[in-house]
Each structure stands twice: as C-alpha cells, then as structure tokens.
Symmetry: C2
Subunit: 303 residues, 2 copies
C-alpha cells in the first residue's frame, strides 16, 4: 500500500542555491520562499547559517529569514553545522535546524574536515540547544548510497550513523544519496534497515537525479510507506562531486508522480511550475525539471 | 520477484532519428547500428520503410539496411506501415517488421489519417506476408497511456486494440506511452490487463521521458515481470506532440537502473555511453541521458 499523503520539503532556497556561482539577491530568495509557500509547500529549507568563507551564497541568511512573511502551518528550517550557526538560526526564528553527517569517513574528512565522530560531537550541543528552545532537529545522513571518494558505503555504516544521530536526540532522519548513484533495490535495502530504527513519520529520503534514478528511488521508498522527501524546485542544485551532472530531484517531477499515483501533496503543480519558471529566469537558465519544461512548452510565449 | 534478464530494443536509429530536422547520413546511421550491436544490443530497430514525403529522414532505408554488417544473434527490425513498406523490408532482409496502431481514435485520425479499424485492416496483409516469409511482427499500441488530442485513454480501448492486433496474428505487443504522460500506477493497471492477453515474453513497454517518468514506469513493469523494453541510445527522439520536451527514454539510463537492480542485459554500459557520445556529436548536441552526461563528465576532455 502506498501512502495517501506525502510531505515534500523544498530545499531549493538552501541546498539548491548554495552552489550558485553568481550572487542571488536576498529579495529573490525571499520571493522564492513566498512562491513556494503559496504553491502549497509546508516545509521549506530556507537558508543556512554557515561561514560565508565556505558558502558565500548563504551570507545573507539573516536578511533572507527576516524578509520572509511567515505563513501559519509552514515549517521553516535552516542548516546549522555548529553552535555559531545555531545562534543565528535561533535569532532568526527558525522552526527547525538541519545537521548533516556523512556515512562515509572519506567524505566527512574531505567535505567538512573532520571525522564522522567529531561531526556528531559538534552537533550534540546544537541538538540540546534546539530542544531547549522548542526547535526540532532534522538530521541527514549524506553519502548513504555511495561516496565520491570511497565508492560503496556499507549499509552497516549508514545504520551506525543513524543510531548515533538518534542517540544525540535528533528528531528526524533523512537518508541522502548525495551523489545520486543509488538504484531502487539498494535504496529499499537501506530504507528497510532505517525503518527498524526510525518511525516512518520521521524518516525521509533525499535523492539527486545525477543518474536519473531519483523518481524511481522515491517510488521504491513509497512502496515501503516512506512519505517524506526532500525535493528542490526547478531541480535547483548542482552536484559538486559529479561535474556537469544534475542535482536535486525537481519538486515538480515528484509532484507529477505523486498526483499520478493518487497521492495528495497539498501542492498546486501549476503554481509550482510558475515558481520554477520564476527562479530559473532569475538564474538565466531553464529549469532542470522535465515536468516544468514540458508544461512551460505548452504555454503561449510571454510578451 | 524482478526478472533476472531484460531485453532492450534500441529504437534510436529509427524512432530516435526519424524526427531530426537536419539530414543524418546513411553512413552515420549504419555506424550507429554497428556501435549498438558492439555494445551488446541484440534487438535494433534500424530504419523504416515509409513514404519519404512523410518521413524524409528515413528515405535512405534501403541504403542503411544494405550497409549494416549483420552480427549473428542480433534481430534487425524495421517499421512498415503498409504493403509497400513491407516489400522494402523484405528486399532489405529485415528480421522483423513493426506496425503501430493507436489506442486513441483522435490520434489515429490526426497522425495517420485513418481510423484505428482502417489501420489494423491495412496491417493484416503485412502480417500475413511477413509470416509467409518467416519474419516476425511486432505491434505497438501508441497513446496507450494518454493522447495529446483526447486526453485520457480508457484501458478498455487499449485492451481492444491489443485483442485486434493479436487477432490479425501479431507476434509481439508493445504498450507505448507516446507522449510520456503515464505514471507508475496507471502503467501497472494497463500492463496487468495486457498480461491477461499476451504472454509476458511477447509483451514490452515503450516509454518517453517527457515528464521524467520513464524509468519509474519501467521499474513498475519489472515488478510485474515484464522484461522487454524499447529504449533509445542518448535519448534520441523528440516528442512532436509536446514541444521542447524530451523523447524516448535513454538506453543508458535504463541499463544503469537494471544493472543496479542486479538484472542482466548483456550490454556494456561504457561502450553504450561511447555510442551515445558518437551520435550526439554527429547531431551536434549533448545526449539527453543523465547517465551518459554524468559518466562523460568524469572522463578527461578529448584532444
């Protein structure tokens, strides 16, 4: 039995835009969030409070958060890798903070310059502080389906990181295929193991479309009852570990699949495609979404 | 249980190239077939014997077929809409002929200027002649998941066309989502009904990636035991009914999925990606395949 309702977390404003080389204004980012919530998204990863030295595109996190006209019922989350980031998130009034630990030691060392153990130790005070302030903590396990440096990642290693993230009190676990290499059977094996540890309502999948597998992987997760997924409007987000490849699965493509399966999302696909068109024009390119491009091609030309 | 082996029919040389506006030389087409068979494809839709008035790109069908150095074990099929086409296919030594009937009356009228009944009547002598010469007949039901003119297509209408194609003696039935609008649940409903009529070994799926659903639809078919699919190297093939949209599902993307699921195809993915690169360069564009682009991006630049 497939779920009757699926929650999509649009990570476009954060995970999507963070790797953009050209600056995107805080006004555009705020407008993107407004359009996403108007289209029916109820969870939006709005920005990240990280060092502008590492992620210059997110240097305006405070400004973006201040510019958002909050809509009741929408959860705004922000990435916070450490206590400094958490202080910014707290001041900005985020509902939820997001932390990332890798399932691959090689990736952890090369991506965030510390071991998996060190990264989780760094998150521990963040989780405690978030809970003390009534904020939720969403933890993601990156490279859960493969690593650009070590290749295969044993399921046991994913389980171990999940256990440790739950151990420090994280409320939600996301299984992330950071480089988009996973296929449906492998995804089901990892998710089945995670479901032995995490209630289905607090487990999500995060898939990249680098090898075109993201929708199929989501469908494979739905067959296990998993009903929360990260997606990115217009397919925003590159994949820095696979040059020239596409990034996050496009929210539009997932909504099309879900609605076709008779699964409710609360999202208006037309309004979402408008949003994809808006941000893609701002970035001077076409959406990386088959659904957005197919539907936009049927519209009369502007002007 | 998923199948242990899947057969892919590469339709790139025919369905893929037929809508190309710029001429593609017979030498390039022949070389494409050679590379596909070298990569492990065992069924190739090589060309079509149709009026050059309607499909100028296929005017060199005889030349292409004559240029192919046949490889034992490879089945070469050609599209033949009528007896005139069949005569060409026979003279060229095709192993199999392909006919198409629509499940949508509106599409049949607008695409081939006759009713479904008339089109099937036209195929009847083709089937008889093919069998008299020991050739197989593969029949495809187009618009089985939706029609650009009438919208939804009832499953009963698909069943009816399948029954009529079987009735005139067609050996194989392909269920084609010509405009790529179908999603996994709908595909399974149509395929389950077809499986009541057609042995699984003689049933195939033909999916377009216009809305990004093709791989998920193939995975949904695999779950029913269906183990033959049409695919197109480099994702060759536009979708003339959805401007700006992508066409046939790319063979590379399907092979990546299948191998990831532990399903044998007999195809060498690297050689296939080389083939995608070859034909895409000949057409002066990038492959419409996420796998090809991801893998090509990891290679050192040429020259």
């Amino acid at each position: 039995m497939l779920p009757t309702h699926v929650t999509l977390v649009d990570v476009g404003p954060r995970d999507g835009l963070q790797n953009e080389a050209a600056p995107v204004s805080a006004v555009t980012k705020t407008e993107l969030v407004h359009r996403l919530q108007a289209a029916g998204l109820r969870q939006i990863e709005a920005t990240s409070f990280v060092s502008p030295k590492w992620v210059p595109q997110m240097a305006d996190a405070t400004e973006v958060m201040a510019g958002i006209q909050r809509q009741p019922g929408v959860r705004y989350s922000v990435l916070t890798p450490n206590m400094k980031g958490f202080e910014g998130a707290l001041a900005a009034g985020a509902d939820e903070v997001v932390v990332f630990a890798a399932a691959s030691e090689a990736f952890s060392q090369r991506n965030i310059n510390c071991s998996i153990t060190e990264s989780i130790a760094r998150f521990q005070p963040v989780v405690a502080a978030a809970h003390a302030h009534g904020m939720r903590v969403r933890a993601a396990v990156s490279c859960a389906l493969g690593c650009p440096y070590q290749g295969e990642v044993p399921v046991d290693d994913v389980d171990d990181v999940v256990d440790r993230l739950l151990g420090i009190g994280c409320d939600h676990i996301g299984i992330a295929d950071t480089i988009g290499v996973g296929t449906a059977g492998q995804v089901q094996r990892v998710m089945e193991r995670a479901l032995q540890r995490v209630p289905v309502a607090e487990l999500s999948g995060h898939f990249h479309d680098t090898y075109g597998q993201a929708l199929t992987n989501i469908h494979a997760c739905l067959q296990l009852g998993v009903h929360t997924f990260d997606t990115s409007v217009a397919g925003l987000g590159g994949c820095p570990y696979a040059k020239g490849a596409t990034g996050n699965v496009a929210t539009e493509d997932v909504v099309y699949l879900l609605h076709g399966l008779g699964i409710a999302t609360g999202i208006d696909l037309d309004a979402l495609v408008d949003t994809a068109d808006f941000i893609s024009r701002a970035l001077d390119r076409k959406p990386v979404s088959r659904v957005a491009n197919a539907l936009l091609a049927t519209r009369p030309p502007a002007g």
